[in-house]
Point group: C2
Chain length 198, copies 2
DNA sequence: ACATGTGAAGCGCTTCACAGCG
DNA sequence: CGCTGTGAAGCGCTTCACATGT
């Protein structure tokens, strides 16, 4: 089901006039097999029209519903180095229904800075802020050494989903979903493919 | 083989004195099954010692060799918005043997800016720069609408691996490896899990 | 005794191929 | 006639379990 956001992105990239799309065309756009597309979409009870294809607008709505994108999600970011600041300013989040409701950093010199009109708060303010503002997702953009402590703090505060950009593996309870995005890992995988063809 | 960078990261995170590690311990650290670790490591002819475990330093060397991390890789970044600038400044790249050899942007106002001591050049300079500086990897941090054009330009210039942060699906020839990192997609997947438990 | 390395079984995802429907 | 929806086959990854080696 990790492909649904990909499909959504493909639908967004379609020419403005397109109101119908076949599984074949969507598959080509997404770079996957068309049977896979049909199976994925059938899982959401998506009734396309046989002989015609899928209604783009309806499909978009169904995917958004399945992903729980119909309501806004409150997000906090911990660690306002270059990456944290870039994410705080990233329009793509707000455009897709993710509201940033808090920025936190352990460095006293950064407290009080404003990034994207939001004030940076100290770590001590995190637990209360998460509860009061209903934050469900935490983004970690700290150095590796701070990542585990921050993850635990987020989990304790009630955050149930963590997106970890720190180059460290973090461990939390089973009730918290963690996704790891490591920039160096991505380059290393590319390096592997380059190396393979040498 | 996408797990090798993860293992490498776990090895980096180990306490300083640790010179031996069992598949069980490494698996726990990485959050995977221990049989998987052994199978992965056996694929690189990694001879651990039965009854003892793996030599951490030797293992690290073997993984780095397998990933082709023994030589530096030259990287160019296209698109110097917030994210591009954050990546240009990201120490993790240089620490792991990836050298940034060029920064490019289509916006004339950004040309000549320096980011991390590197000057931003216009898109027209890309083809020659990639060839002269031996760039093998291109990072795309442009808006979605520019991503395809930039990807094609990179491929034409001779780049064989692309890391795409733009929220768009790009299409290139089979001789170019593309990895997609979409920040919104990550949040959408987390949203799905949140939604699932509601 | 203990941990690796690995056949073999298991499992889920992917792909095929076609029946069913518009 | 065209495209969806889906059983069934295929395929690769994961996991088990144990023989092997130190």
């Amino acid at each position: 089901m990790q492909r649904l956001p990909l499909y959504l992105q493909c639908l967004d990239g379609l020419a403005a006039g397109t109101s119908l799309i076949s599984s074949e065309d969507l598959a080509a756009e997404a770079g996957v097999n068309s049977a896979k597309v049909r199976k994925d979409l059938s899982h959401l009870g998506s009734h396309g029209t046989r002989g015609v294809g899928y209604d783009v607008e309806h499909l978009r709505f169904q995917i958004q519903t399945e992903l729980g994108l119909t309501k806004d999600r409150a997000v906090v970011i911990v660690g306002l180095g270059n990456l944290g600041r870039a994410l705080a300013n990233y329009d793509g989040f707000t455009e897709r229904g993710f509201s940033i409701v808090g920025l936190f950093d352990a460095d006293p010199r950064k407290i009080g800075d404003t990034v994207d009109d939001i004030e940076v708060e100290p770590m001590e303010a995190l637990p209360a802020a998460v509860g009061e503002r209903g934050a469900e997702i935490g983004i970690i953009t700290t150095p590796a050494r701070a990542a585990q402590e921050v993850a635990s703090a987020l989990a304790d505060a009630g955050v149930r989903s963590i997106l970890n950009f720190a180059p460290a593996v973090i461990h939390v309870g089973d009730d918290v979903e963690v996704r790891r995005v490591d920039l160096s890992t991505e380059l290393q995988v590319l390096s592997f493919y380059l190396h393979r063809n040498e």
